[in-house]
Amino acid sequence: MATVTIENLRKIYGDFVAVDNMSLEVKDGEFLILLGPSGCGKTTTLRMLAGFVEQNNGRLAIGERDVTAEPPYRRNIGLVFQNYALFPHLTIFENVAFGLRRRKLPEDEIKLRVREALELVRLGHLEDRYPKQMSGGQQQRVAIARAIAIRPDILLLDEPLSNLDAKLRLQVRDELRALQKKLNITTIMVTHDQDEAMYVGDRLVVMQEGKIQQIGTPIELYNNPANRFVASFIGRTNFVEGEIAKGETSFKAKSGTVIATTAAARASNEIVVRPEMIELSAQKTDEANCFDAEITSSVFLGGNIEIVATLPMGDAFTVITTVKHLKDRGLAAEIGSRLVLSFSPESAVLM
């Protein structure tokens, strides 16, 4: 339970700048996500925090404690790896007890804390098994128990869900989030999956090419992406190219379509419209942006439906809505059918 301070962190491999002068404060008890495509530096950052990669520059602190020069085994950090990294030659009990034995705790205390940790991940009954006798989901839960049993100051998770099956991933994800809230332990997780990140993270740090692109809550990143990269990485997006001058309220798309926006803070040549912000209807609405369109693609995705609607000028907008919503409005999402597409000026966000 502690804050984490990262100051001017920098890591260079030969010519390649893996992490570029990164600074970050993680709050006590926060669940922070480092999110980005592969090679963006998120894993390198995590490994520097854990002490396995030596930074070229910068300072790292956990609470008041400067750990910049500490070896991994004195940082008191709980680590969970993508491929579980359990000790195959030890039982589940001994796996979880490993960190406690290194701390030379009395045997009674060890038993108590191992049982407690295994109960937290609901695996108390399997303590005599060996890792290979367990499923992937169980192994990852043991790895989590092993990491929290040492009562670490912070918890680091390196893509902990990506080796699991789709359905299992959702389950372990929910458990992980509940456990983190229950223990109120400062947690930093690395992932490349935005759904996962939005689901568990209090705040998300979106990274690209070793640099932080934006930090914020899921809703902040979704509603106000700082740049094109963040907009395309978080959620689905309709990009429209065109131009708008500072202070104006209408965006002229290249196709000729004119889109109403809120007063532009600066000149720009691109706006984004989130597919979920677009309303479909049979009749014209009184929304500022209201266009006739034709459905050119329609895919049912279980609850959600993803529709591509094409404007007379040729602009194609992806719209995501629910089947129920369409039904309530009496719309059929058949390819070739015509309808009206509308969205508010606030939904057209300047890039």
């Binding site: 854990a50 085994y73 004195r74 790896f81 490993f98 290194r102 790895a143 990491a147 040492i150």
Partner: protein
């Protein structure tokens, strides 16, 4: 795969089967022959067999050079194996886990005894030891220490090879997990690395023993009268007399090594690692 039916495929299948059979035959024929020769009653090693007897095995035990050779070979092999393991386990860990300049060069140098003909190793070792004897007055050739030193040289590349292969197959992340849980580098090695490469360690020890026990070239140079390893004793006996005793001694030598392997196989699955 589903069976194919064209002529070319049948021919291919046939050739493969034929070549396999011949290859296998070439491999095991001499061993069968020597087993047979060790029980024929002819007093000179020749065929056809005049009868069968187990006397030659008893005869082996009446030859002091075989008893002594067997004893010395075992001592040398055990000694070389132990010392080889003490040297190569830390070396292999450093070679696989640390990145440093000259790492590849050292790795190749440590492998070099595999490539240099054993007779060259034997001859150069002999000269080294003779020189050492002349300088220090301590007898080196014929001494157990000299034999062990020579054989350690032979076992090092085997051990390095088997251990590094095993270490490279061990995911470093498990060691990192141990470190994150508070294990110091030494604790990581003793609690995680060594237990996990136990199969490699056993395989390396067995191979060391077998290579040392069966070695002729190096032992030949280091042997002095009365201090012979079993292969050297067999060689000397052959120069003097060719009778089935020699076949019996060979069979016993193979049997001892085979026994060692069977016992070890109870503890670790050898066929997976050699």
């Amino acid at each position: 795969m589903v069976q194919g039916k064209t002529f070319a495929e049948r021919l291919g299948r046939f050739s493969v089967g034929f070549i396999n059979t011949v290859g296998l035959g070439i491999c095991i024929l001499p061993l069968i022959l020597i087993l047979w020769l060790s029980v024929i009653s002819n007093s000179v090693l020749s065929l056809p067999a005049e009868g069968y007897t187990l006397n030659w095995f008893a005869e082996v035990w009446r030859q002091p050079q075989f008893i002594g050779g067997f004893y010395l070979s075992t001592m040398v092999a055990v000694g070389a194996t132990i010392i080889g393991m003490i040297v190569t386990i830390p070396a292999a860990i450093v070679l696989v886990r640390k990145r440093f300049i000259g790492r590849t060069a050292i790795m190749q140098l440590l492998m070099s005894p595999l490539i240099v003909p054993a007779i060259v190793i034997g001859a150069s070792l002999y000269m080294t030891l003779v020189e050492l004897e002349v300088r220090t007055g301590i007898p080196a050739t014929g001494s157990l220490t000299g034999f062990i030193a020579g054989h350690v040289l032979l076992t090092i590349p085997w051990c390095i090879r088997l251990l590094t292969a095993n270490l490279a197959g061990l995911d470093e992340i498990v060691e990192e997990a141990a470190a994150s849980l508070g294990a110091s580098p030494l604790a990581v090695i003793s609690k995680v690395t060594l237990p996990l490469i136990r199969p490699g360690i056993v395989a390396a020890a067995i191979f060391s023993f077998v290579v040392s026990f069966g070695n002729l070239e190096v032992s030949m140079f280091l042997s002095t009268p009365g201090q012979l390893t079993l292969p050297v004793a067999i060689l000397q006996y052959l120069q003097w007399k060719i009778d089935p005793t020699i076949a019996a001694a060979s069979v016993m030598q193979v049997a001892i090594i085979g026994l060692a392997l069977v016992i070890t196989n109870r503890f670790v699955n050898l066929s997976k690692m050699v």
